[in-house]
């Protein structure tokens, strides 16, 4: 019993230390936007000596801030929709139609999982430039869809394979064609996996930095991570403004991700550890 008590105490202390290490920087960030520079310099972690709203106000009233968020939202939503459509169609073929070489094509697409996309970033840049997509949202969207395919097809196929095959056979007997079966049965029955794939792709796109950094080069097309660093470059020593910007851009994402976290987790584990 005594040993148990010690273990429990140690456990709780560890958990609390880790909690503080995680929450303290985030709290400091949130509060920094309410402080003046002078206050922040001597008092980085505690409540502001005097609350100031103008730094947050300045960013909320800056149309550029909303342009960044809108660009990110547009790119993320379109990337997500396209990835779900293209990947689920391909996975449908792999799950339902066997033909000579289909295993090889599946293996070919899955190669995308093994290799870091950063390795090919320069040829990718040249390709996107030659297609005339530089500095457009499509220059980010199209490569993102391409890179998300391997993972998404894998998740979709795993899910489709586990759907009851009697349904498929019955539909076939009734003369249902493949495309109709895909639209009328496969997609409506796949909402859990669509949610997982969509959340995962959306998250990746929303937070993506390297690809937009390379493909976008004007403030009108910037996504929010680019805009954030741009802003930091302009207000290099004014941490209160920079951190107000950070807080405002993180807030919607945190709410969304906490709500969707079970889908993210499902995507990450990919059913792999459920045994």
């Amino acid at each position: 019993m005594n040993e148990f008590g010690w273990r429990q105490a140690l456990r709780i202390i560890t958990l609390l230390i880790v909690t503080v290490l995680i929450l303290l920087p985030l709290l400091a960030t949130l509060l920094a936007g309410f402080k003046t520079q002078g206050d922040l310099a001597t008092n980085p972690f505690l409540l502001p000596r005097q609350w100031h709203l103008e730094f947050y106000g300045q960013i909320i009233n800056d149309p550029q801030f909303w342009t960044y968020l809108w660009n990110s939202l547009f790119i993320s939503v379109v990337t997500t929709i396209l990835t779900v459509i293209v990947a689920s169609m391909a996975a449908f073929v792999f799950a339902h139609i066997r033909f000579f070489g289909s295993d090889y094509i599946f293996g070919y697409l899955l190669m995308g999982l093994m290799f870091p996309f950063a390795a090919a970033i320069i040829p990718l840049f040249i390709k996107v430039r030659d297609f005339g997509l530089l500095d457009t949202p499509w220059g980010v969207i199209v490569p993102q869809v391409a890179f998300g395919l391997a993972f998404s097809i894998l998740l979709f196929r795993t899910f489709f394979d586990e759907m009851p095959k009697e349904l498929f056979e019955a539909a076939r007997v009734d003369g249902c064609t493949y495309p109709r079966f895909y639209l009328a049965f496969t997609l409506p029955l796949s909402m859990p996996i669509i949610a997982t794939v969509a959340t995962f792709i959306f998250t990746g796109s929303w937070n993506n930095y390297l690809l937009p950094l390379i493909m976008l080069n004007s403030r009108e097309t910037y996504t929010w991570p680019l805009g954030m660093l741009q802003f930091q470059g302009e207000y290099i020593v004014e941490w209160n403004k920079v951190l107000a910007f950070v807080t405002l851009s993180l807030a919607p994402a945190i709410v969304f991700f906490l709500a969707a976290q079970r889908y993210i987790v499902a995507g990450l584990t990919g059913g792999a550890v459920k045994g």
Binding site: F4, R7, I22, P25, L26, L40, A41, P44, F45, A87, M89, V93, A95, I97, R98, F99, G107, L109, L110, M114, F115, P116, F117, A118, A119, A120, I121, I122, P123, L124, F125, K127, V145, A146, F147, L149, L154, F160, D161, K165, T177, Y178, N207, Y209, L213, P225, L229, V237, W239, L243, V246, S249, Q261, L268, T269, G270, A272, V273, K274, G275
Partner: protein, 330 residues
């Protein structure tokens, strides 16, 4: 247990398929003539030709071809403009790399990140998972909190921590005020910049591994734990001899993501150090970006890409061999 890896196909593609019966002799025999009729008229080829090309085209154009072209460009000196690469240099780019101390440092840093991911991040994630995997309300809150760093964008995380470690404002400024020290700027210090990066790196990603382990721990039947307890196993022994061995598939998944992710680390570096001070904290990708892309050295940058590709390839083969071996032994 044996099914643990079935879904993780990049490493071990699934062999069975639900609709395999279409092609197997027994299936064909049972269905008889209808199968042959179906082959011709059920539109399966039309479906294949309609459903598969978008994925194939996108993947080939924007993933596969760039990888191949990267290998080709690596042999040239090219600014990226004009007709295409013409100035063939053979292995010169790789020779330059092998003698470039900044590159070697970046390579080394990347390996350090991989090592820290495996030796600190994953064990920490596992320890946290073991502490909070049971479903209680307090654990749910801890789980949410510990997962927050993972969902923050890398760039935002980097900015937050560069504030915390700013000698004029953050933690370091508090210490220098309290103890009347000189102001310190760990992120522009050649000794401390990398350790700080590693700390932020662990902070950011341990929650990801924790989630994988929590999912795995929750799938271990409680009866098994209970039985070992009745047999007299101490809590530490249950962890050591019951839970950790059953976590092997989850560890394999964790290692895979940790290595592939660490090899590509870039976003976190830029807001914290931009590779500095004096280019001591570059990773392979930030080196590639800085010395290849930004300076329009297409051939040189592609050579770095090839190195990254080769390292990933070696890892993929080793990983596959190890995991496959572990599977057949079970």
């Amino acid at each position: 247990m044996g099914g643990g890896f079935r879904c993780f196909s990049p490493i071990c593609p699934p062999i069975e398929s639900t609709f395999m019966s279409d092609l197997t002799p027994s299936g064909a025999a049972k269905a008889g003539a209808t199968v042959i009729k179906a082959r011709g008229r059920d539109g399966r080829w039309a479906t294949v030709l309609l459903f598969l090309p978008p994925a194939l085209l996108l993947f080939t154009l924007f993933v596969f071809l760039p990888l191949i072209e990267g290998g080709q460009y690596a042999g040239y000196k090219w600014s990226g403009y004009g007709e295409g690469p013409t100035d063939w240099r053979g292995m010169r780019n790789f020779e330059t790399l092998s003698g470039n101390s900044t590159f070697l440092r970046s390579f080394n840093n990347t390996l350090i990140f991989v090592a820290v991911a495996i030796l600190i991040q994953i064990p920490l994630g596992m320890a946290m998972a073991l502490m909070i995997y049971r479903k209680t309300w307090a654990n749910t809150i801890f789980r949410l909190v510990f997962f927050v760093p993972f969902i923050l964008a890398e760039v935002a995380t980097g900015l937050i921590w560069s504030f915390i470690f700013d000698g004029d404002y953050g933690v370091t400024s508090i210490f220098s005020t309290w103890f009347d020290w000189e102001k310190v700027f760990p992120l522009s210090d050649r000794t401390w910049a990398l350790p700080v990066l590693l700390f932020v790196f662990v902070w950011k990603y341990f929650g990801f591994h924790m989630m994988i382990f929590i999912a795995a721990l929750q799938s271990i039947p409680e009866d098994l734990i209970e039985a070992s307890r009745i047999d007299g196993a101490k809590p530490g022994q249950i962890v050591r001899y019951v839970q950790i061995p059953l976590l092997k598939p989850a560890i394999a998944v964790s290692v895979f993501f940790a290595v592939v992710g660490s090899l590509q680390l870039f976003d976190l570096i830029i807001p914290l150090t931009r590779g500095g001070p004096s280019n001591t904290t570059h990773t392979l990708v930030s080196y590639l970006y800085n010395f290849g892309l930004v300076r329009q050295k297409v051939g040189f940058g592609s050579a770095v890409g090839v190195v990254l590709f080769v390292v990933s390839f070696i890892f993929a083969i080793t990983y596959r061999a190890t995991v496959m071996k572990a599977r057949t032994e079970q």
